[in-house]
């Protein structure tokens, strides 16, 4: 019953330096830090008036005004708000910011459309999968005038906001335990060749720790500068002079940050201690769990770190997931995605709108599994040939973790 809570407690006992030692759920200093951090997570950043020395606040360019807008109750977000588009542009920077402070144009408006693909399972059940397409309207150009016609951008990598449950536990898994699971040349011939990315966070495993991830999110998604990412203009590039010319008040000469070290530390404390939803182990579908293991899902969605204390159902490694899931970046990583943790899937309630995969394209677990390809092709084929009731057991299992 209190398994996950116990895991959290256990992770304190193990006492890694990066996980706080205090109980964040008691009425105490630490508890107040947790709640204050949560308030920061939910804080809606606004444009502060020019004479406020303490902060410039939001933007100038941003995707959302609070962390919680994308990570709803620290879980996943909703489309389209929680979707960001990574790009590779000298002019627009690393990411399309679809909002801007008053008086500034946003970088573009994103239009989302889908084409349908029909998948047929072995018992001839038909499932409709929706593949997303992105078109940009009113994209900003170097002429200083937005392009009014629709633009298809060549290099685009959509990223949907993941759930943040148990992030602090993923952070304390010793690196060696992850490297032990690597098999880039597929020496064991199981068709699966996971390799470690530069880090363990983000859909491309490109962020090394939660401190970096939090700083990056503040800067890129909300336009808030912090010690790690001190540029007050966020993702506004040197070429976007219309954006750089925004008055920045005293803050530049002061090196005054939009969020100072104490505030940042408090937000980070919260992120590191977000608990997993409490699950009832007795409700776990054991035959579903067996099927999960038998058809090879657990090769990537792994458990048992730190002597079995941490069971996130991920190896945190990158895998080639096939063309259908690839982004359009022109590099060897375009087909590769980090295995997402599956713990916390139980947080979705019966009638919630659900979003799965790196761009949120799948609206239920069945679709999410059917999009698997590449290294996961064999596991998917095995899944497709399961009987209807075995399929349902597997899905019930996923919904119970």
């Amino acid at each position: 019953m209190k398994l996950h809570l116990f895991i959290i407690l256990l992770s304190w006992c193990i006492g890694s330096s990066s996980v706080a030692q205090d109980n964040p759920f008691a009425i105490s200093e630490a508890g107040l830090d947790y709640l204050t951090g949560q308030a920061l997570f939910e804080k809606i950043w606004v444009t502060a008036p020019s004479s406020t020395r303490a902060s410039d606040g939001l933007g100038p360019l941003y995707n959302a005004r609070s962390c919680a807008e994308c990570h709803f109750q620290a879980g996943k977000g909703k489309l389209p708000a929680a979707l960001t588009l990574r790009i590779n542009s000298d002019f627009l920077g690393q990411q399309i910011q679809s909002s801007a402070i008053a008086g500034l144009p946003a970088e573009a408006q994103v239009e989302l459309s889908y084409t349908s693909i029909v998948e047929t399972l072995s018992d001839s059940t038909e499932v409709i999968l929706k593949k997303p397409h992105y078109v940009l309207n009113y994209i900003q150009t170097e002429t200083g005038r937005p392009e009014r016609r629709q633009t298809e951008i060549e290099e685009l990598s959509p990223r949907f906001a993941p759930a943040l449950f148990g992030m602090g536990l993923l952070e304390v898994i010793p690196l060696q335990e992850l490297l032990d699971k690597e098999d880039p040349k597929d020496h064991d011939n199981d068709g699966i060749s996971g390799r470690a990315g530069p880090g363990r966070f983000g859909w491309k495993a490109d962020v090394i720790n939660l401190e970096q991830q939090t700083g990056k999110a503040l800067s890129l998604d909300i336009g808030i500068s912090s010690e790690l990412f001190p540029n007050p203009f966020g993702d506004c590039t040197q070429l976007q002079d219309y954006c750089l010319s925004r008055p920045n008040g005293a803050s530049r000469e002061d090196q005054n940050l939009e969020i100072g070290p104490p505030g940042f530390a408090t937000l980070l404390y919260f992120i590191r201690n977000i608990p997993l939803p409490v699950v009832n182990v007795n409700n776990m579908n054991t035959s579903g769990k067996e099927i999960f293991e038998n058809i090879g899902c657990q090769h990537c969605h792994q458990i048992g770190y730190m002597q079995g204390a941490i069971n996130p159902y991920t190896d945190l490694l990158l895998h080639d997931m096939g063309d259908a899931l690839a982004d359009s970046f022109d590099n060897e990583l375009s087909r590769e995605w980090r295995t997402p943790p599956l713990w916390g899937l139980s947080s979705y309630q019966e009638n919630d709108e659900q979003y799965y995969l790196h761009d949120g394209r799948a609206t239920n677990l069945l679709e999410a599994i059917l999009w698997h390809g590449g290294e996961a092709e064999a596991a998917k084929l095995a899944f497709k040939s399961l009987s209807r009731s075995a399929r349902q057991d597997l899905i019930n299992f996923l919904q119970s973790i």
Binding site: S51, G57, A102
Partner: protein, 418 residues
């Protein structure tokens, strides 16, 4: 380490140590007092909102510095009973769901009216972003087009408030009125509140343009506040939604609701979100009543509201006392030592809050106290946080002593049930 695990385990299992009951204070009598205080405090809020509405009418009839000052004073007075009702918010879902309409904060001023030059005047690209409802009959936010030719209560409440799902698009409630009466506080963490000229509402000598539409806005938003409060007064009458909800919880559940409300307001909301966060960020935007610089009062009356429901006693705006059997009395009978501790906690919170008022009287309002490098200010504010935290711990002890189930003191609604 094990001590912590144990503490948590204890909390989870809520080991009780309830002693034999003496029936001199029944749970249902305590609930009756609680409801009577709710009725009186919401009624007082409504009465003073109507006074505010009259003052605003008088101001609009003749906009000058004097009538504006009257209207501002009426706003400050209207906050007094309202803030004392905040102890009813957590634990009573009917109140919590409604609260956003009347007390949402922080708000993005640019949605409502003109703001300081930093917001930029060049609206070359205004098909992307033109909020400022007062200046624009047609607004376009995040791809949503809104016809704002007539500024009506419906437009504000149903269309603009929280437009585009953004929580800071606050178009209604006390803080929207506050902004319209004071304007932006451009003093940052230096002394001084907002300083909007009365002529912003003058038809003959209009400053900052669109005075007619600004008048319409102020009128509509004040009317909405009054009707929202009417609704809440009704909710607490026998048969009203809040009343029925509470009755359905039974007497144990009712006591749990009272204590949840006290603890959640003291701890997560006041100590955490409204006070500690401001201190951490040194950010005047974190000031609760930021345009009027009335934040010290806001904190003070919140704490008083907590005391009211515990002591079973509320002083109405006309000086009358609403009083009855209370949790305080129950504790005196059941656990006199703990009862004494709780009284001491309430008193030390009161002293800490008093210090805020004293500082404010000297010109050191909350936004000044939280400025970075204001060491003395930080000390005053930290004392408030610490005493609220102590008070919450004692509230938790009371919950244990009464052996109440299903109480969770949370910082705010969202992650409470994780």
């Amino acid at each position: 380490m094990f001590k912590q695990i144990c503490t948590l385990a204890c909390i989870l299992s809520l080991v009780g140590c309830s002693t034999g009951r003496q029936d001199s204070v029944s749970h249902s009598a305590i609930l009756e007092t609680y409801i009577a205080i709710a009725q009186a405090a919401y009624e007082d809020s409504l009465i003073s909102a109507r006074v505010l509405e009259d003052a605003i009418d008088a101001f609009l009839a003749e906009p000058n510095q004097t009538t504006l000052t009257y209207a501002r004073n009426a706003w400050v007075a209207a906050r007094v009973p309202y803030l004392q009702t905040e102890a009813f918010r957590f634990g009573n879902p009917v109140v919590d769901e409604w609260e956003g309409r009347v007390n949402s904060w922080p708000l993005d001023e640019g949605l409502i009216d003109y703001t300081a030059a930093f917001y930029g005047q060049d609206s070359d690209n205004n098909y992307f972003y033109t909020a400022n409802i007062i200046a624009n009959e047609l607004i376009d936010i995040g791809g949503i087009s809104v016809d704002a030719a007539q500024i009506t209560p419906q437009l504000l409440a149903e269309t603009l408030h929280l437009i585009d799902g953004v929580e800071s698009n606050v178009a209604t409630g006390y803080h929207a009125i506050e902004f319209l009466l004071w304007g932006q506080d451009l003093n940052g963490t230096n002394p001084g509140a907002g300083n909007r000229p009365a002529s912003d509402y003058s038809l003959s000598d209009c400053s900052n343009r669109n005075c007619d539409r600004r008048r319409d806005y102020l009128k509509a938003v004040t009317g909405l506040l009054v009707s929202d409060l009417e609704e809440m007064v009704y909710n607490w009458q026998p048969g009203g939604a809040a009343y029925v909800d509470l009755m359905q919880k039974g007497s144990e559940g009712g006591l749990a609701t009272i204590l949840t409300g006290m603890g959640s307001l003291a701890y997560g909301e006041l100590a955490g979100e409204r006070i500690r966060l401001g201190l951490l960020l040194n950010d005047p935007e974190e000031e609760h009543d930021c345009f009027s610089d009335n934040t010290h009062n806001s904190h003070y009356y919140d704490a008083l509201g907590i005391k009211n429901v515990y002591m079973g006693s509320y002083e109405r705006i006309n000086g009358n006392l609403v009083q009855g059997p209370s949790l305080a009395r129950l504790m005196e009978l059941e656990a006199p030592d703990l009862a004494a501790v709780m009284l001491a906690r309430i008193e030390s919170t009161e002293l800490a809050m008093d210090a805020l008022l004293v500082e404010a009287a000297k010109g050191n309002t909350f936004d000044v106290l939280i400025a970075s490098n204001n060491v003395a200010g930080e000390e005053v504010v930290s004392r408030v946080v610490d005493s609220l935290m102590e008070e919450t711990r004692t509230i938790e002890d009371i919950i244990r002593a009464l052996n109440l189930q299903n109480v969770s003191i949370s910082g705010s609604e969202s992650l409470g049930d994780l």
